[in-house]
């Protein structure tokens, strides 16, 4: 029996709560709840990703930003959000004033999917992915369901 039903939430410690709230609201995750501390200040602000998955923002983070990708720091490397249509997502992000963090490669990635990258105000890297029906992740899953061993791939 699986122990876990799924991810429940992701919690980020943020440097500037207003900036983070504005960013996550702009990409379509509205504030749903906030808990106050004993001084009446925000302790946790919850944004809705889906009905059973939330983003928790904790204000008061030390430092200005998270380490860069090339630092290879142990810890969160990136988050990934899926979209139905990468082109429509790019247009919506542009309309919301969210810039891509690296130029978009219009080709399919090494895993068969299309996507792009943005950064949140603290520099957390967010991958945006339109997953193809025949992508390597879905193939690996159906293989597991059929009782197969994990796939080991070299995609060079």
């Amino acid at each position: 029996m699986p122990i876990f039903s799924g991810l429940g939430h992701i919690a980020l410690k943020v440097n500037d709560l207003d900036a983070s709230m504005a960013f996550y609201d702009a990409i379509g995750f509205p504030e749903m709840l906030r808990l106050l501390n004993d001084k009446g200040d925000p302790w946790i602000v919850y944004h809705r990703i889906s009905d059973n998955l939330y983003l928790e923002l904790f204000p008061g983070g030390k430092d200005k930003a998270v380490p860069g990708e090339k630092d290879n720091a142990t810890g969160l490397f990136h988050l990934c959000l899926t979209v139905a249509d990468a082109d429509a997502a790019e247009a919506k992000l542009s309309k919301a004033g969210i810039e891509l963090s690296r130029p978009r490669n219009a080709n399919r990635g090494i895993d068969g999917n299309r996507g792009m990258w943005i950064n949140d105000p603290d520099g957390n890297r967010i991958e945006i992915m339109e997953m193809a029906p025949d992508c390597i992740q879905f193939k690996a899953e159906s293989n597991l369901k059929a009782g197969g061993r994990p796939h080991v791939l070299s995609l060079r």
Partner: protein, 148 residues
């Protein structure tokens, strides 16, 4: 704006891939889906995909620098939460596989049951049994009502 469908994966940079796989696969029971060799052809694993659900994965990238994941007060991932159907059953399982709780089971301010563990890099993991009268479900219901 309905831009995103789902949080599809969380990717962690890990110091010791074997230890992380032992923790997430052998102890927590996630299934290894796939691993990829480095795209530049250098030896070693680039990343391993673990299945949380059919559309949520945990990606482990070896080669993490530093001693541990950031502490809980710095700008960084603060924690990950995994939902459980029964916290008591999850705790019994964790005991059996020798994963200690870093914070014991408690009823939290949000009216859910929670307990905490840490992965081998010190990433904090909350285990949460969502209760029907919790603050989050009430908030979701309010959002839906407002959208009607």
């Amino acid at each position: 704006m309905n831009l995103f469908k789902q949080l599809a994966h969380v990717a962690l940079k890990v110091k010791d891939l074997d230890k992380s796989l032992d923790f997430y696969v052998n102890k927590l029971g996630m299934t290894e889906m796939m691993s990829l060799a480095r795209p530049d052809g250098s030896p070693g694993v680039w990343l391993v995909y673990l299945r949380i659900t059919d559309d949520q994965y945990l990606e482990l990238f070896p080669g993490g620098t530093g001693d541990r994941a950031p502490g809980k007060d710095v700008v960084a991932l603060n924690h990950i939460c995994l939902g459980v159907e029964s916290l008591d059953e999850a705790i019994a399982h964790l005991k059996k596989v020798d994963v200690p709780l870093t914070i014991q089971k408690k009823m939290a301010a949000d009216k859910n049951w929670q307990a905490w563990i840490e992965d081998p890099d010190g990433n904090r993991i909350e285990l949460m049994q969502i209760m029907p009268d919790c603050l989050q479900l009430a908030a979701i219901a309010r959002l839906k009502k407002a959208a009607e």
